[in-house]
Every structure is written in structure tokens, then in C-alpha cells.
Amino acid sequence: MFKSTQALFGGLLWCVSGPSTKVPIIRTQANIPSRITGRPRGVFPPPQKARQRKRLRSVDRVVDTVSAALERNGQTSKAVSRWFAEMPREEEMLPKDKYTLFDKKEKSYRKSIHKLPKWTRVSQRVNPPGF
């Protein structure tokens, strides 16, 4: 018998309309896996990290295309030049910065990047000064 205790729910929000439709509707902050890689670790490298690198490279490619097109027309853009001045490219980044980000509330001051809301659609590349 399924009892709707706090422990069984495990922090998930459930559809409570009927027993057949008990599917998690929202993944809350508490239920994001602690590691991006998952456990137990398989023999192959985890694809989430490969996709993260792919996304970083695709953003690099977009900025490169825009910059090259502007240069060919003899124009400049503040947003593009600022990006090149401030942001590292994917190949220049440390693995630490690719897969984790600074968080003052964590013991080690780092948390996994997949804890960042909308992490597949935002650019998070640099640390605060001194970290």
C-alpha cells in the first residue's frame, strides 16, 4: 500500500488525482542528483559532460561567426568585444569551471553545474574574483 508520507515522497510533488497517475510533475531542488555523472559509474564517460562541452563550443561558434561577420563589414559590437575580453573559450576552461560553479553555501565552495537553474541554456564560465 502506497502511503503518502514525507519519506516516500522524497521531496517530489506528485499528481494526487488518482493512484494510476502518480507521476512526478516537478523536479524540486532537493531531487536533483548530487552528481552530474550518476552512480554507479559506467565504463563509458558520462554523456552529460560531453553534451555540456558541446554546448559550450556551440556558443563559442555563434560568437565567432558573429564577430567574423562584423569584422568583414568593418563594424564592431560592444557585446561581442566584451565577451572576448571576459569569457574563456571551451578549450581554455579548466574542467573545474566547465562542470562546477561557485556557491558560497557549499562546504567546498563549489557545486555541480547541473544544480544551476536552466543550466543547459545559460552561460556560466567565470568565477567571482578570488575563487
Binding site: 554546448r55 556551440s58 556558443v59 555563434v62 560568437v63 561567426t65 558573429v66 567574423a68 561577420a69 562584423l70 568583414r72 563589414n73 563594424q75 564592431t76 559590437s77 560592444k78 557585446a79 561581442v80 565577451w83 536552466k118 543547459t120 541554456r121 545559460v122 552561460s123
Partner: protein, 94 residues
């Protein structure tokens, strides 16, 4: 004169309102939609706002919506040797 060919790859659902507004300003209403804009700093700035969501190429010509659609049309697997009208005119000539 060159153009940016901008394709929306990822949707802006759940992102800040401003991302959606920038996409609207660029004319991107749904995923995989393609628009053409002439290369200029203002368009470049707009692309930079949504760089995680789009794929950008530089091209020399602005294509119409139909031409973009035809690029994706698969090969029909046959070719027309002769049309009916041609065949009829040949038969009529004999």
C-alpha cells in the same frame, strides 16, 4: 552586403522575459524557425542576448521562407523523363 542566417535551436520557455522578447524582435516564433537579418552591430547584440538558443551562419543572400523550406525537402526518388503534355504533342504530330 551579407546576412545573418539565424535558426532557433532551443526554446526560451522558462527563461527570463527578455530572452523571449529578443527572439520576438528577431522574428523567431518557434523552434527551427529561420530568419535573415543584415549584418549590423544591433543585430549582433540581439544575437548575443540569445546565443545559447540559436545557430548562426553568415550568408550572402536572403532566402525566402519557401526557399528555406525547399532546402529541407527530401529527394522524391524519381525524375520526370517527359511530361504528359510533351507526350501528347508528340503523338499528335505523328
Amino acid at each position: 552586403m551579407s546576412y545573418f542566417r539565424i535558426t532557433l535551436i532551443r526554446s526560451a520557455i522558462g527563461l527570463p522575459r527578455r530572452s523571449t522578447d529578443v527572439l520576438k524582435a528577431l522574428g523567431l516564433k518557434k523552434r527551427m524557425a529561420t530568419v535573415f537579418h543584415s549584418v549590423s552591430p544591433s543585430v549582433a547584440g540581439q544575437i548575443m542576448k540569445v546565443k545559447e538558443l540559436v545557430h548562426v551562419e553568415e550568408c550572402q543572400y536572403r532566402l525566402t521562407k519557401q526557399e528555406v523550406h525547399l532546402e529541407r525537402k527530401p529527394d522524391p526518388g524519381y525524375y520526370i523523363e517527359k511530361s504528359c503534355a510533351e507526350q501528347r504533342s508528340e503523338l499528335g504530330g505523328q
